[in-house]
Each structure stands twice: as structure tokens, then as C-alpha cells.
Symmetry: C2
Subunit: 328 residues, 2 copies
Amino acid sequence: MSIRIGIMGYGNLGRGVECAVRQNPDMELAAIFTRRDPAGVHPLTPGANVLPAEKAEAMKDAVDVLILCGGSATDLPAQTPHFAQWFTVIDSFDTHARIPEHFAAVDAAARAVGTLGIISVGWDPGLFSLNRAYAAAVLPQGESYTFWGKGVSQGHSDAIRRIEGVLDARQYTIPVESALAAVRAGSQPTLTTRQKHTRECFVVAAPGADLARIEREIKQMPNYFADYDTTVHFITAQQLAAGHAGLPHGGTVLRSGRTGWENEHSHVVEYSLKLDSNPEFTSSVIVAYARAAYRLRQAGETGCRTVLDIAPALLSPLPADELRRELL
Amino acid sequence: MSIRIGIMGYGNLGRGVECAVRQNPDMELAAIFTRRDPAGVHPLTPGANVLPAEKAEAMKDAVDVLILCGGSATDLPAQTPHFAQWFTVIDSFDTHARIPEHFAAVDAAARAVGTLGIISVGWDPGLFSLNRAYAAAVLPQGESYTFWGKGVSQGHSDAIRRIEGVLDARQYTIPVESALAAVRAGSQPTLTTRQKHTRECFVVAAPGADLARIEREIKQMPNYFADYDTTVHFITAQQLAAGHAGLPHGGTVLRSGRTGWENEHSHVVEYSLKLDSNPEFTSSVIVAYARAAYRLRQAGETGCRTVLDIAPALLSPLPADELRRELL
């Protein structure tokens, strides 16, 4: 029997989940839920069942895992605990600082009724977290580093769009190659924010807008840009559409550590992602963890989990003996 | 209370475990067991308890996890099931083709008496296996690649040493850069054995030995060298000691896959290790999994496990909430 997947929210991430479900023969798309008018939602899957979000409860016996595809700012903190009352849930909550409170809310909601949730699934948090945890456990005497990019930061692009006179924008986060090289060489450098990443912005300004002011406002924006070396390019809407339509991303997690009685040997562990489509890759990670969520719930487990709690074998469609034979 | 570690076999790997235990404050070295005369074994740890291997049973209540540091050819197939009758055991069994039978033997031994074992822990099998499993689960439409090196293959070095007229040898396995580059570029090439790795041998020959014959015997050796482009350098024992004393190794696991409704987007996941000391890094992985083995046994679990069955959080000394806050 297939694992029946429900998608809550049909944006880039929801569409990515739909594509990923199609690549996994042990899964099927049970329903797409939307807060928009279902008539205006056009899934890729012929005949897909599109329902209003408020009708989700009625589908609780027809969906094995509900994947929440909303945003971390306001959607997921409310939705994940809410839908845990009826469903095995999984989300990609990515506001690192608020993970403890989100975990507590989902854990309480799931335990109250005996369901299960996995939160913060994707690549960071997600696969990058796994690699930070594995490498730190293996090399306790060491330093960890995370570099992001080159890739589009949607949060930073949105921040630029909110500046007066900006019609559209795309922001790339770029790791500093010399910093990466120093870490790869095992020198365990101490790196400031500015030394690790640069930011490059492509901005479409309104006709007659004060470009110097826009550039200044971007470069001085606290948290987002002030601590970075930032370059700003003004381009046309046509140029933005032609050259910056995709959502590539990626990055690198490194740990540099030492072993030996006198710490005489050096080791570097590196994990890197080069992604053509950030939302589709994130969706693919979520769908693999949906398989784990389904299995854990079938085994009677309840409460909230993160990727750190999930054994890798639970992600694979292969039976345990075949996994050992083929991949170990 | 510390996790009390026993080491069975005090070679490069056993010494590496001893060093790794020292780096983990929640662990202590309980005993080193040896088949040699204990008086001839000189541990790095002052006052370490060195006992004959046949006295291990008497220490079963003083050791929480026994780490088996013998070889995969003959030691571990016998030792791991044998010592599972008294101990939680962990080994680095690395003969890929024989993992299923080794798993079955350890599983039967451990279940019969209610102990637990984790086999085939290290980096390949081990961390590389994890990365093959994670990446294949996330990108089902894709190809996986494993490259080893540049590093010393002890098995290949040993094979050269068995040739008549060879006094000593060191063999380096070297990945072919152009093949790595093609995989990284996402082209999913089909690669033969010869296209993936080359082999470079440094050989000390006996005085008057027939160098041409030795070189021919190396290059034509089935399984080990015949399928590779191999270069042979004859050097002196002094040169070997000066330039090739270490045991560096490493390698790269890649998966290149596609997502999207029409598989229109490409992604590359890469995991790589650069290790100054293969045995010390392997030992460090084993010691992290010893923590997991201890916890699983404390939780009442029994039978055989591999790295694929172990949730990453079990490897870390950090409590779950701190792991989520710091590393997720």
C-alpha cells in the first residue's frame, strides 16, 4: 500500500513535494489543501484532489502524512501544532532561533492525541544539521563551519523589495573562496561574518527612483546587509527575468578536527550541496522524511522529532537487508 | 558516570581508540585486551589495565562497550559474535561482500543472550554508507559515486609485499580528477574501474631482485591492479620511511540527481574526507558509535545494528534540547 501524502499550501514548496511524490513509487498524492479558492489552484498531477484548508479534518483517514508547505514566519508556528491533532505532520520550519519553542508546541500537540511530527526538515536546518552533528561527534576536538551559497536568499530578496522605489530584486549569498580554502586546509581560522560571505543584489528600481538612496538603504540594513560586503546592480525587469529566474542555492558544512595522543593529526570533513532549485531539493528531503514519519507512526511512536532523531534507514524505500548489502 | 570502554587488540586501530576515548570526557578506558604477552604492550594511557584476551569474560561487568580492533579477514568474523555473549560490542568489519553473513552471526549471538552489537563502523563502511543512503533517499532519480583517496591502501600495500623480491611497499589509491569533475558537473557519467582511480606504488626491492618482473607482477595482479592504470616507483627503505610513513586517506561520495515534474533541475550532493590518519579517524567514528551502543543497550535494545540503524543524536554527548538549539 502506498504512503498517502497530503500537501498543505501549494506554492514553490508544495509543488516541489508534488514532484517528489511522483519520483517515489511507494507514495501517492492524496490531496492538496489550499487557503485560496481551490478552483484557482492548478496542480501538475492530472486529477489531483484540491480541497480548502478548512476541510482537512475530513481527510484525516485518507492521508498518512500531511506535509506543511507554508512559511516559517507565521504559517508553520500555527499550522504544524494545529494539524498535528489529526495528522502525522512534517514541516520545514527554518527559523533556527525559534526551533525550541516550535518543537515544544508540536510535541505537546502530538502527544496529547497520539500523533507524530517531524519539524525543520530540509537542508538547513536538515541535512546540514545532520552533518554538523555527525562531524562534531566524531571529531570532538575541532571547529565547525557553515557556508551558504552561491544561491538566492529569498529572505534577503524580500527585504530589498520592501525598500521604497524598488520594484523587484534578487539577492545572492556568496561564500568567500579564500575563507573556504583556509578551512579546507585545516587551519581552523576564526572568521567574522564579513569574512565568510558577500552579498550581491540585482535590483529593479521604479522609474525616477533615487538609486543612490536605494543602494545606501540596502547596504546599511541591519542584520541583513550591514555586516557584509554588499554589491548592488541596478538592472531592468527584463534582465531580472532573463538572468535571475531560478532559485539555485547550496552551501558547505565543514569540520576541521584533530586526533592522536598529542592531537598531532588533522582531518577535514566536508559536505556540500549544489542545487539548481532550492524549493525542489528541500521538498525532496521532506518527502524522504515523510516515509520515516509514516513508519514511526505505524510503529506506535508519538510526539515531535527532528532529523537528528531519525535513523537513516527509515528514509529509504529499500528493506534493511538490501540497504546493508547495497549501500553499507 | 563514564562509559567504560574495553579495547580488544592493540594495533593502530586500538591505539586510535585509546586516543579518541581521551578526547571524550564522558568515556574512560577500562581495559585493553591483547593476544600478545601483556607485558609487551605499552599503552599511551598511564596505568592502563592490560589483560590477556582470554581473561575478557571476567571483565564483563567492568566494561560497558567492548571495541574490537582486529582485522576483517579472520579476527572479526570470529571475535565479534564470540564476545557478544558477554559484552555490548562494536567493530569496523569492512569486507563489504561479507557484511550480510557477519551481521547475521552477530545478530544471532547478541539476541541469544540479550546483548547488542554495531558492526562495520568507520568511514567506508560507515560515514560514506550514511551519505550514500541519505542522498539516494533524497534524490531517487540519480546516480551515486564513491571515490577513494588520495590515500594509502593497506590491503594493496600488503599484496605488493607478498611478491618475491619485495621488502616493503606503500600503495596510494588516487581518484581521477577528470572523472570527479564530470560527476560534480552533474553529467552522471558511466565510469569504468580504470576511469575512476589510478594506483601508485612505492616499492623497496631486495638487492639484485628483478625489478622488471616485480613491476609486471604488480601491474598484472588480478582484482588488485590489473583493472587500473598503475605506476611503480622503486625507492630505498630510507626513502620509504622518510616520505611514506603516514597512513593518510580519504575520499568522496557524490550523488547527482534530478528533480522537477520533467526532471528539469539538477543537484549534486558531495561528502568528502581528507584524513591525516586513517586508523585514528576510523577509531574516532567507532568511539562515537560506542556511545550510541551504550545508550541503546541501556534502553533495553538487543541484536545487531549498523550505522544505518542509528539516529544521529545518539552519537552526541549533548542532551537533545541542546543539540536542537546548537546544531539543528
